[in-house]
Amino acid sequence: MQLPRFEYVRAASLDEGLAALAKHGADAKIMSGGSDLLVNMKMRLDTPRVLISLGGIAELQDIEELPDGVLRIGAGCRLTDVIAHPGVSARFPALRDAVAAVGSRHVRNIGTLGGNLCLETRCWYTNQSEDWRKARDGCFKTDREACHVIKTASRCHAINSSDTAPALIALDASVVLAGPAGRRTVKVLDFYRDDGVQHTILAPDELLVAILVPDDGRRAVFAKLAQRVGLDYAAGSFAASLRGPADAPEAVRLVLNAVGAAPKALTESERLLMASGLTDEAIEAAALGARQSLGEVTNLFTPSGFKRRLVKALIRDALVTLRDQTA
C-alpha cells in the first residue's frame, strides 16, 4: 500500500504545532504515534497535504501528580509509559487495564493516550481498501449523504472504539485543549459528539494537550470483549466507577463504548444503582436496561443481536467485580 504524498512538519514545541495547524488548516493532519493515522492514510481515507508530527514535543510527554491529587497525563505519552507509571497502577488500576487493552505491545509502544482519545471512528463499510470503496457508493464519511449500515440514518454511525475513553469518563477525567485563543478544559464525556464524521468537539485549529484524572475516592473497573486479544478493536467495552459503599453508593458512573459514534453514559442504569445499591437484582436490571437502551446499533464486525447480548453480559460481570472488589 503506497502512501499518498504529503509534506512532513515536525513541531519542536506546542506553539510551533499550533502555528503549523493555524497555517495549514484543513489541509493538515496531526500525528502523535501515527498507529491509527497510518492505516487510514494507507487506505486513502485520510489524504492530508501536510502532516504535523507532535512526536518531538517534550511537554506533551510528561506524567505529573499534581498537589491536589490530580494525575496529569500529557497527550503525547505513549501507552506503554502510561501503564508503567507507578501512580497509574497504584491509583487508577481501571485506567491501566483500559490502556493495556489497546492493541498489542507493538501498538502501545508507539500509540499515545491523546491519539487513543482522538481515534477516528470506524465502520465496516468504509474502513476498507480504496478499491473496495471505489466499487461501491460513497457515504457520509466520503462523498454522499448516505449510510449503508443503517439505511435510515441521517448522520454517520461509524463506531468509536477507543478503549481508554470509557475508563477516563468513568473516572470523571477531563481533557485540556489548546488553540490560538488559549486553553479550555472539558470533561471527556463532553469531548465527544454523536456523529461519526465529526466525532469530537476539537476545532480545526485545536490540539489535545493533556488528560486530567481527579482522585475523588472512586473505585473503577474496565472490561472489554474482542475477537482476539492483542489485535482487535472492542466488540464492546465498558467502564464503571463507584464512590462510597456498594450497598449505598454516593456516586455511580457507567459508560459503554464501541456501540456508537460516541461513548455512551448509561444514566438510567446509574440512577437504578444509586437507588438500590449494587445488589444482584439491581445489577441484572441495570445490565438489561443498558441492553434495551441501545438504539440503532451499527453492526460493526458483530451482528447487532450478538452485540446486545454481549453488552449485557459485559456490564453484569464488570459490576459484580466492582461490587466484590469494594465489599
Binding site: M1, Q2, L3, P4, R5, F6, E7, Y8, R10, G34, S35, L38, V39, K42, M43, L51, S53, G55, T80, G103, S104, R105, H106, V107, N109, I110, R228, V229, G230, L231
Partner: protein
C-alpha cells in the same frame, strides 16, 4: 520533497534522502537491504515487520522513516555479538535465535524475525517471564504455521539461557 534523515540502524549511522511517505519498513528493506523485517499486512496487524526503536518493539510498517530520525533502530540482523574477523561469518547468534533453532520453532520463517524481535524486548525487560507474559508479548505477531507452542517453548528456552 525528499527529506534528509539520519538513521541509526544496527549501530551504523546512515544519512538518507527519503520521501516523507516512506515507512521505516520500506527504507530498511529497499534502501538498506535489511530484509529480515518482512512486509506482511502492511497495516499493523501481523507483526512480521517488527523491529526495535529505542529498545521497544514496534511495527516498522506503521512508522514513517522520518519519524525514526535520531532514534536507534535494531533489526534481526543487528542481534547477537559481532565477532566478524572480516570473513563475513563471525556473527554469533543471540540466545533467542539459537533457541528458535533448538526448539524447532521455525517453519516457513516468514513471521520469525518479527516474533524474535518482540520476544527480545520481553527478555530485555523481564527476568524469567511466565507463559502468560510470553504469550502477551507476542500477541501482536501472527504465525500461520507453527501453532505458537514451539515459539513459546523457544522463548522459555532462551529465557532460561540468559
Amino acid at each position: 520533497m525528499k527529506k534528509l534523515v539520519q538513521l541509526n540502524v544496527n549501530g551504523d549511522t546512515h544519512e538518507l534522502a527519503v520521501n516523507p511517505d516512506e515507512t521505516l519498513l520500506g527504507v530498511l528493506r529497499n534502501h538498506l537491504d535489511l530484509i529480515g523485517p518482512k512486509r506482511g499486512c502492511d497495516s499493523g496487524g501481523c507483526g512480521c515487520c517488527t523491529v526495535h526503536v529505542d529498545g521497544k518493539a514496534v511495527y516498522s510498517c506503521m512508522m514513517y522513516a522520518v519519524s525514526a530520525q535520531d532514534k536507534n533502530v535494531v533489526t534481526i540482523e543487528g542481534l547477537g555479538q559481532n565477532n566478524d574477523q572480516g570473513n563475513g561469518n563471525g556473527r554469533e547468534l543471540d540466545p533467542l535465535q539459537q533457541a528458535f533453532i533448538d526448539a524447532g520453532a521455525v517453519q516457513c520463517g516468514y513471521c520469525t524475525c518479527g516474533v524474535i524481535m518482540a520476544a527480545k524486548e520481553l527478555l530485555d525487560t523481564v527476568k524469567n517471564p511466565d507463559e502468560d507474559e510470553i504469550r502477551h508479548a507476542i500477541a501482536g505477531n501472527l504465525c500461520r504455521c507453527t501453532g505458537y507452542q514451539k515459539i513459546v517453548d523457544a522463548i522459555k528456552l532462551a529465557a532460561a539461557a540468559v
